[in-house]
């Protein structure tokens, strides 16, 4: 305060770069304002600026308390933002890991003669926890899909005569030729098992997950 009283407010009038700007004063020569709203008095009587951080985090007056709670909520939101970002990169890491594993090796499913026209057989691919179906729809045409319904993972059942695959749980219906949903709650097509026919043998060669 003493320094402020010793110098006039308009010391820099007509100083270089301020020619003609009479009656104005640079803001930085003012003394910083006291926080007049600060009503909290700490038990040791010292100003709040000299109090430890934990004491300023537990204010007594309401306006300061509102400020502190909003500031802490913002910290929590930033932490939530960090969690979402970690989740996003976790998905990317999973994707990278799957791609790194590469193509699965060929797995023999059946021979053509073992599967009469219009019949189906189940198999597990690529792991024993992934049930799939192989359906013979023509003399040399086959389709193979994951048996898990894309609605709630019930086991689907092929109906070759109708040309559909049905889910008995919620009456979902998929097209047998393409695996795409045509009725009921499923919105995504069945995962398609890619296969190769070598001679008389049918081999699974990969699985394609689809959104449309």
């Amino acid at each position: 305060m003493a320094d402020h009283e010793q110098e006039p407010l308009d010391i820099r009038i007509d100083s270089p770069g301020r020619e003609g700007l009479t009656g104005t004063t640079p803001a930085n020569i003012y003394r910083p304002l006291e926080d007049a709203e600060q009503v909290t008095i700490a038990p040791n009587g010292r100003p709040m600026d000299e109090q430890p951080a934990w004491r300023t985090d537990f204010p007594i007056d309401w306006p300061q308390d509102h400020y502190v709670e909003r500031r802490d909520f913002m910290k929590f939101m930033v932490l939530t933002s960090l969690a979402f970002t970690v989740g996003q990169f976790w998905i990317a890491a999973q994707n990278w890991w799957r791609a790194r594993r590469g193509q699965t090796e060929l797995v023999r499913l059946a021979s053509v003669t073992e599967l009469p026209l219009g019949t189906a057989r189940t198999f597990a691919y690529p792991t024993e926890h992934d049930p799939c179906i192989l359906v013979r729809t023509g003399e040399r045409t086959f389709v193979a899909y994951s048996q898990k319904c894309t609605h709630l993972s019930c086991a689907v059942v092929p109906d070759v005569g109708e040309g559909v695959i049905r889910c008995p749980c919620h009456d979902g219906v998929f097209d047998l030729a393409s695996g795409r949903p045509i009725a009921g709650p499923p919105r995504r097509p069945l995962s398609q098992v890619q296969f190769r026919i070598r001679g008389d043998e049918i081999f699974a060669a990969g699985i394609e997950e689809r959104t449309v």
Partner: protein
């Protein structure tokens, strides 16, 4: 010409409210990004995974920047 005057409490309350609104919008955007990416990933659409991760990281950096600014105006007060 720099103004060294610290913000008053009322000004800081306004600033933190504004920043909080912005942070909330970014967090909701990140939540949407995460659910949309998970849905696409489970459906086999892998093209969106890295762009969504980068967008989410950008949102996080914005949020951290705002939080740092809040700490900065608190420090100038002391």
């Amino acid at each position: 010409m720099s103004v060294n005057r610290p913000f008053t409490r009322a000004q800081r309350a306004t600033i933190v409210n504004g920043m909080l609104a912005f942070v909330m919008m970014l967090v909701v955007l990140q939540l949407w990004l995460l659910t949309a990416t998970m849905n696409a990933y489970l459906g086999g659409d892998r093209a969106v995974i890295w762009p969504a991760a980068v967008a989410s990281l950008a949102c996080l950096l914005l949020n951290v920047g705002l939080l740092r600014y809040l700490y900065r105006i608190e420090r100038t007060r002391r």
